[in-house]
């Protein structure tokens, strides 16, 4: 199976540790993962801000870069949802604008083979115990696109429960949005910040050291709020927890 890592532009630029963790984890599980260097961005920020036509060339580029692989794995619920839920919609909209089936046809092949990381682990590799070790108290925040668009459900929790020495504590109001929302965080900064502060308060109430999620964009917002409020908690991407082992533990 030819597996490609779609790291996402945000992770590539700001969170290379998450990328290294995905590579380490998948390699340990026997997957020979490739990082096609031509990859850039799925176009989600453009699409969700109302620039669907600007997002189209990025979607075409994505299909071009990843078309030749059997599976595309991404450590981002929202970028995964962009490909799986919104690429087909972009194709449909182009069709209804009288531009034919071209875009739909180009995008269709990559849609079903794009997986969010925890989906790929649980559904494709069929593992829940990935041999990880992480001796910390952790609470899990299900990000909205992972939860509602992709329907990740229990997958991330099953993976976390199998991690040795990890104490998983339930996050109150877990399914409430953290307030990131892409450009929402800038356009409605006050509401976004209020949502973030409430999320952080709920996280703090668990007594966990680490708030874990499967999307670094949300973690950038939650983590930025945590450090501004000097909570002492830290945000960690689930890939970094699952990649951590007794021999080579993540700090």
């Amino acid at each position: 199976m030819r597996v490609a890592l779609f790291l996402t532009c945000v992770n590539d630029t700001l969170y290379p540790d998450t990328g290294r963790a995905v590579v380490k984890l998948l390699t340990r599980l026997g997957v020979d993962v490739d990082f096609p260097a031509a990859q850039t961005c799925c176009g989600q920020a453009h699409y969700n801000t109302g620039y669907r036509h600007e997002a189209e060339p990025l979607a075409r580029h994505f299909a071009d870069v990843f078309g030749g692989y059997d599976a595309v794995v991404t450590p981002s619920g929202s970028c995964g949802a962009m490909v799986r839920e919104l690429y087909p919609r972009m194709g449909e909209r182009a069709r209804s604008e009288g531009r034919g089936d071209g875009l739909a046809a180009v995008l269709a092949p990559v849609v079903p083979k794009t997986y969010e990381l925890t989906e790929f682990l649980v559904d494709v590799l069929e593992v829940t115990d990935v041999g990880a070790y992480y001796p910390h108290r952790v609470t899990y925040h299900p990000t909205c696109h992972g939860l509602r668009s992709l329907g990740l459900g229990e997958r991330p929790l099953r993976l976390l429960r199998a991690v040795k020495e990890l104490e998983l504590v339930e996050l109150p109001g877990a399914d409430e949005c953290c307030g990131f929302g892409g450009t929402f965080a800038l356009k409605n900064a006050d509401v976004s910040a209020a949502m973030g502060a409430d999320k952080v308060r709920n996280a703090e109430s668990t007594g966990a050291e680490v708030l874990c999620a499967a999307d670094n964009s949300c973690l950038m917002h939650i983590g930025g709020t945590m450090s501004r409020l000097r909570t002492g908690m830290r945000p960690v991407h689930i890939a970094e927890i699952l990649a951590s082992t007794e021999e080579d533990p993540a700090v």
């Binding site: 590539d12 590579v23 176009g43 109302g50 696109h145 800038l186 917002h221």
Partner: protein, 492 residues
């Protein structure tokens, strides 16, 4: 009532004030979280909920597709049952029709059933200008009217008030409108309800004209349906001699049997009840029973324009249950008034910019009043994909394009104030279409990382005012991958 929404500031500015109002935040948090949990329990009782939801969606879509036919059928049925049907293209026309109908009775007072359509057209203000007093009889609408306030929720318009505030409003204002509140009124719910009951009873018994909306209109029989909890609606619908109902044209269902779906999904979604306490249904007029004269004013007011939009038309499926408001994290913090419309929350954010167009500052800002978390879509009993419509309307704001306004095709120009954003999006698209450009940008960011400020200037302050920036790493992932061949050569 003094409350109209003309000249509202854009959503972010209005929301900013609400976020800082700790009493309001507390009231809304308590109310929305309580109803949210109750709704979830009420819905979980039905193992065929998802099928009911899809059935509701299908019935509404079918009706909207053949709306012309069903409207004519409804007109025939209502007329045959003794009612008189009027057609109103917009708010002004509807208000004019109602005012003329009231004036023809010689009365100067009407009692009102809670109705979103009459709020939408600001009927009370229009009647007042003609010397006709309209009395709201729904408890929460009464609180809003007495408090010279504006509604902030579809189902519970006074959700932003706590009981202490309500006691004060009753004590201060009831006397000027009719029977005053009892001396030393406490703020317990039962006492407040009692005071309202005594105050309203006088109005019910005196009124000769009732004004209502309707939750549903059955095309095959001409029957109108009002679903409520308090019984005030039943009073207004049965005691007066003349009943005038103002109803949006999208409220039709084809057959009586279609009601079986909505009479299950609406109460569970709105008040978390298996069945609402009062369901009133009437078909034209009946001698010796209820109003002797019945007028139905069918209201368009932007609905036909909305129907013309392939993506946006699903908003017309809405049955006004307000489940989307109760789960919305943005509504919970911004409050209903920030939406600048009688339709607040997620549904308001897609309905108002379609019914009114995106020309005003507030309407152009509403599609952005969401983090696109999708909680609204998940609870919607007619499966309106609100995030999809929000993004579609954002596109209309920034790109302009074809739309239908007042029945004619128009070409909308992109909204003002998005030029810098548009340029940034184009530049980002250009760079992101070229891996080399992305890489150059990443390297520049990494090499200058010690020079980056902790807080951002200009629009970036919106981020760094409340959140620290993530540190830029020493090298982007792609450089690590290239340098170590994905870690295969052992380097870290």
């Amino acid at each position: 009532m003094s409350g109209t929404f003309v000249g509202m500031p854009a959503f972010p500015a209005a929301a900013r004030a609400a976020v800082r109002d700790t009493t309001l935040r507390g009231n809304l948090r308590h109310a929305t979280h309580t109803i949210r949990a109750k709704r979830a329990r009420a819905v979980a009782e039905l193992d065929d909920w998802e099928r009911l939801r899809q059935a509701g969606k299908r019935i509404k879509d079918h009706t909207l597709r053949h709306l012309d036919r069903y409207l004519e059928q409804l007109e025939e049925s209502v007329t045959a049952a003794g009612g008189v049907v009027h057609w109103a293209a917009d708010a002004d026309e509807a208000n004019r029709i109602v005012a003329e109908l009231v004036r023809a009775t010689g009365e100067t007072e009407v009692v009102k059933v809670k109705s979103m359509a009459t709020q939408e057209i600001a009927l009370n203000e229009a009647l007042e200008a003609q010397g006709i007093h309209a009395y709201e009889t729904d408890l929460a609408e009464l609180i809003v009217q007495l408090g010279k306030d504006r509604p902030s929720h579809i189902l519970v318009p006074a959700i932003h008030r706590n009981r202490g505030e309500i006691r004060d409003i009753f004590t201060r204002e009831m006397g000027a409108w009719g029977r005053p509140a009892p001396e030393g009124l406490p703020d317990t719910p039962a006492d407040l309800a009692d005071a309202a009951r005594l105050h309203l009873r006088e109005k019910f018994l005196r009124a000769k004209v009732g004004v209502s909306g309707a939750n549903f209109m059955v095309a095959e029989t001409g029957t109108l349906v009002v679903v409520e909890s308090e019984g005030n609606g039943r009073m207004c619908l049965t005691l007066p001699e003349t009943l005038i109902s103002v109803v949006g044209i999208e409220k039709i269902v084809p057959t009586w049997q279609d009601l079986e779906v909505f009479l299950q999904t609406l109460p569970r979604s709105s008040t978390a009840e298996r069945m609402n306490p009062y369901t009133s249904m009437w078909t034209g007029t009946t001698d010796g029973d209820g109003p002797r004269v019945f007028h139905l004013v069918l209201l368009d007011n932007g609905r036909t324009d909305t129907l013309a939009d392939e993506v946006g038309r699903q908003a017309l499926r809405c049955i006004r249950c307000s489940a989307c408001l109760n789960v919305c994290p943005v509504y919970e913090r911004a409050g209903g008034h920030a939406y600048g419309s009688v339709y607040p929350g997620p549904i308001g954010a897609i309905l108002s910019p379609q019914l009114r167009g995106t020309g005003s500052e507030i309407d152009a800002s509403l599609p952005y009043a969401s983090s696109l978390c999708g909680a609204c879509y998940e609870v919607c009993p007619v499966a309106i994909d609100i995030p999809e419509v929000l993004v579609h309307l954002r596109e209309r704001v920034v790109e302009g394009g074809e739309a239908v306004r007042e029945g004619s095709k128009v070409r909308l120009r992109p909204a003002k104030g998005h030029a810098a954003e548009r340029a940034a999006m184009r530049a980002a698209r250009w760079a992101l279409s070229r891996p080399g450009a992305l890489r150059a940008g990443q390297r520049l960011a990494s090499r200058t990382r010690r020079l980056h400020p902790r807080t951002l200037p200009g629009p970036g302050r919106a981020w760094s005012g409340t959140r620290d920036l993530p540190p830029v790493p020493a090298e982007p992932f792609r450089d690590w991958w290239q340098r170590t061949r994905g870690g295969k050569d052992g380097a870290k």
